[in-house]
């Protein structure tokens, strides 16, 4: 189970979420702070205004008792309200707001003509209290004005404002993360397409067109195409090298063999036989390993495709030339065509080996047919020769096994054909020919994915 941070998408979304969270939290704190300041300011202002108002309507009656010229209309000063006022005068009864009822404010801030304020204990809890003194023309003690407002009200306002901000920012956060995720998914889609294109290439398709990808990925696609090309060139070079090596070794080997023949003619039969035997072994090894190294299938170079019909044609005409003088006719199935996911040279090698085999053994006819079977193509070669008993069929594929020394051949054809087919995940099999005597050789190879 791979860790989640293995995924690009996960990483990008995680960064987006963390980034959004951090910035939204910071934003929230800042906004909440700003709101708090404003609310507190307004709270204070409100009290200040009321103090001013109270100052203008406070007076004394005929006895010097403090009284209001007119009532303060703010409903918060009424019974059960959250705002309070009181006017004190030394030696006189205190006048207070209906909201105070029997209780009182501390009056600690009504100490001078300049308004002072601070927190104090109110009738129901902590209050913000404003106070000042007011001198009167009659010369008596000054009026002591006090105003208070429940701080719990402020707290409530603050809390609801915070809640509002939090909710708003949460929604914003979800929108941001959702938008970010959508962006990321959309943005990374070309990578998904890239993955698909590579899978297609492995299945035998061509390299993707760079123009269909965004500019950041285009160089990668170009490189991929170049890599494919380079691979194909490696295969080609390997082929040429292998061919050159074969050419280089064969002539010396021919010379040694002729020397061995000469030895035989001078009476040194044993030496000759021994040399020839070893030469035959060397030749087999060269043949076998040359054939294997040439196989393009080993590299699974993508993009290679073979048309069965066009590949078979020249081989059939060559086989007709080779075996036709014995009266053998090669009959192909001409109607359909199949596209194989393999190198044309490799297919030609497999088909040639089997067709030559069929041509050698056939009495009069070799039939070639092909058809799709699932993801593979089946190419069948039927000859009307003596056939091969099932018990000997596996031996026919063994290197160096020549089941009949009278017919020319190196004994490698079937083995190499099967090896080549296997490199593509396919196979070569032998069975009874359809319609009577003879042998059927079947080649199974993958077909090109049609997309």
């Amino acid at each position: 189970m791979r860790p989640p941070y293995d995924s690009l998408r996960f990483r990008l979304i995680a960064v987006a979420v963390v980034g959004a969270a951090v910035s939204l939290v910071l934003a929230g704190l800042v906004i909440a702070g700003i709101f708090r300041e404003r609310l507190v300011d307004q709270f204070r202002q409100d009290l200040q205004v009321h103090l001013t108002e109270l100052s203008s309507i406070a007076q004394v009656d005929g006895d010097g008792h403090p009284m209001l010229r007119q009532p303060l209309p703010d409903p918060r000063f009424q019974a059960f309200g959250s705002n309070y006022w009181q006017i004190e005068r030394e030696g006189h009864p205190t006048v207070r707001s209906p909201s105070l009822a029997e209780r009182s404010l501390s009056g600690a801030f009504a100490t001078g003509p300049e308004p002072r304020n601070g927190e104090s204990d109110g009738p129901r809890g902590r209050v913000l209290e404003y106070g000042r003194t007011l001198s009167l023309p009659d010369g008596g003690p000054p009026l002591r004005l006090s105003l208070g407002s429940e701080l719990s009200v402020l707290a409530g306002l603050l809390s609801s404002s915070n809640q509002m901000v939090t909710r708003a920012l949460l929604v914003l956060g979800l929108v941001l993360v959702g938008g970010g995720a959508a962006q990321i998914f959309y943005g990374l889609r070309p990578l998904d397409r890239l993955g698909q294109a590579i899978a297609e290439m492995r299945g035998g398709g061509q390299a993707p067109n760079p123009e269909t990808f965004p500019s950041e990925i285009r160089p990668l696609i170009h490189d991929l195409g170049s890599l494919l090309h380079a691979n194909a060139e490696i295969v080609q070079r390997a082929r040429v090298e292998a061919g050159n090596l074969a050419h280089g070794l064969r002539t010396p080997l021919a010379i040694v063999m002729d020397e061995a023949d000469r030895l035989a003619r001078t009476g040194r039969q044993e030496s000759s036989d021994s040399l020839l035997e070893q030469c035959a072994r060397m030749q087999k090894q060269i043949d076998y390993h040359m054939a294997r190294s040439r196989a393009a299938g080993a590299l699974r170079t993508p993009g290679l495709t073979t048309s069965v019909k066009s590949a078979i044609e020249p081989i059939l005409s060559a086989m007709q030339r080779l075996h036709g003088s014995r009266g053998v006719v090669f009959q192909p199935d001409r109607d359909s065509d199949l596209a194989l996911a393999c190198d044309p040279q490799d297919f030609a090698e497999i088909a040639s080996a089997l067709l030559d085999n069929a041509g050698k053994w056939a009495r009069s006819t070799v039939r070639i047919s092909w058809s799709p079977s699932g993801e593979n193509a089946l190419i069948a070669i039927d000859d009307d020769g003596p056939g091969l008993p099932p018990t000997l069929r596996e031996r026919a594929f063994a290197i160096g096994e020549r089941l009949d020394e009278t017919v020319a051949g190196s004994g490698l054809g079937l083995a190499i054909a099967r090896d080549l087919a296997r490199l593509y995940g396919g196979s070569v099999g032998l069975s009874d020919a359809v319609g009577g005597a003879g042998l059927r050789a079947t080649i199974t190879l993958p077909m090109l994915d049609a997309r």
Partner: protein, 219 residues
Amino acid sequence: MRLCLIEDDEELARRLAEGLGAAGFVVEHAYDAETALAWPEPESFSALIVDLGLPGVGGLDLVAQWRLRRLSTPILVLTARDGWQEKVAGLNAGADDFVVKPARTEEIVARLHALFRRTSGQRGPHLQAGDVSLDPAARAAWLAGGEPLNLTQIEFRLLLFFLHRAGRIVSQRELLDHLYPLSRERDQNTVEVHVARLRRKIGHAAITTVRGLGYRFER
């Protein structure tokens, strides 16, 4: 039987010529395709052996050119490249059979004889006409009664050629070409001498002299 070997590797050509000569063939040798194409009367050869690995105008082109000129002489190609690609190409260019290098002279000789049988309509591996039978692979010949024939190399060549052309007239000139390579000093008279010697061994009636035209081996 007269062969033309087109092979650029001198060493290999020398050895092949030697081996083929010992098997009863007269071998002419060209080192490249241009020389071979310029060779007069290529149809006078019993077969042509072409190395597909020739430089310059390659072996394939040579074969194709000859077939374009309507040459029907059997062509055997030598391939060094492993795999079927070169063989198929050689066959489609007009070759009749191929031999993979390294090849023993015996194998080339056997393929050649198989080609001759194809063209002359002979069915089995032994050649037979009149009272004479010949096994080219074993280099042996014998009379109808089973009596083996003791022949010199030249006589064997002569008999081989006659058997492939049994029933047809062959000129002295043709016989000369098929007995001796061009590089040797040749004399028309030697043909007469060798025919006479052969007659002594297989019976005078086996070969008829056709005045002015040549000889005919009777079926």
